[in-house]
Symmetry: D3
C-alpha cells in the first residue's frame, strides 16, 4: 500500500504504553531522535507493535508545525 502522507519516517519501536483506549508508541528514528504516536489499542495489537519492531512513523505535512528559538 502506498499512501499520500508526505512523511514516512523509518524507525524502530522502543516502547508501547497502553491506556484505557489509547496506546502511546515511541519510535526511535535513524539519528536517535524519538517520535511518539498516540494510536488505538486495537491498532497496536493488530500491527503487533513491540520493542525492536521496524516501523514507519507516518505524518501528513499539514500536521507538522515549525518552531524556531
Amino acid at each position: 500500500m502506498k499512501i499520500s502522507a508526505r512523511n514516512q519516517l523509518d524507525g524502530k519501536v522502543v516502547e508501547v504504553k497502553k491506556g484505557a483506549t489509547t496506546a502511546h508508541v515511541r519510535v526511535e528514528l535513524a539519528g536517535g531522535q524519538v517520535v511518539t504516536a498516540a494510536i488505538t489499542n486495537e491498532s497496536a495489537d493488530e500491527l503487533g507493535l513491540a520493542p525492536g519492531k521496524t516501523v514507519k512513523a507516518v505524518i501528513k505535512s499539514s500536521d507538522v508545525m515549525i518552531a524556531t528559538d
Copy 2:
C-alpha cells in the same frame, strides 16, 4: 515558550517552496531523514525560514500514525 506537543524534532531547513497561500518546508533531521511541513506563507516569512536555518519540527502525538510492512 514550552508546548504540549510531544514531538519536537531538531533539524535544519533544506527547502522552502511557496504556493498561493501554503508553503512546503522540508527539514532534515539528525540521521538524514527529511520531514515536510505545510504551513502558511505568513508563518514561513515571520519565522524567517530559509535553507540552513536550525528549527524544530513540532507534531502532536495524536497526528502520528504507525505503519508496518
Copy 3:
C-alpha cells in the same frame, strides 16, 4: 504496508482538482457517498490518481467528528 489509522474506506476516484500546491481528490465509496481529500500535488502524481482508479480513503479515528440533527 499496514497502517494504524482505523478508517480505510474502499472507493474509486471520481475527480482530481489541482491548485497551486494542493490537490482536491473526490472518492466515491460503495453506497455512493463521496469523500474529499486535500493532499499535495506531488502525492496525487506519485499515486497516479485519476478518475476510475481504485483507492482507499484513510482517516485517523481522532479526526472524525459525529454530528446529529
Copy 4:
C-alpha cells in the same frame, strides 16, 4: 448549523465503546462500510449516541489521506 468541513457522511451508529475519557463510536455508512470516530465521553453523552441513531460522520478534507495498492 452548517459547517465548513467538506465531508459529512450519512450513517447509523452501530457501537459506542467508552474508555476513561475517550469514546470510540462506530458508524455504518450507506453501502455498509464502517467509520470509527474517537470523541470525548461528554460529547457521546450530549449527542445521545446509541446504536441505531442516525448521524453524520464529519471530516475535514485535510484530514483524509489516499492510499493505493
Copy 5:
C-alpha cells in the same frame, strides 16, 4: 445540527482571503482575540462568509495544544 467537537467559539468574520484552493478566514472572538481558519474556497462560498457575519470557530479538543512561557 449538533457536533461532537468540544470547541465552538462565537465570533464575527473580519477577513476572508482566498488562494488557489484554500481560503484563510479570520474570526474575531468576544474579548477581541482573532482565530484564523484555513478552509476550502467552496466552503467559504457555500457558507456565504464575509466580514461582519456571525459564525462559530469549531475545533476538536485533540487539535488544541497548550503552551506556557
Copy 6:
C-alpha cells in the same frame, strides 16, 4: 520559541481533568469563552498546568472549521 501555528490565544487554565493517558485542559480566554485541549498527562505535568496558570491555546489554522446557523 516561536511556532508556525497561526492561532496562539491568550488565556488562563480553569480546569485540568486527567484520564488514563489523556488530560482535558479547559482554558478561559479573554472575553470569557472557554477552549478545551486534549493533551497527554505527561505534557500536563511537564507544563505544570493548574487552575490560574497563564497559558496560550495553540491551534493550526487547518484544524479550525467555521460553522454558521
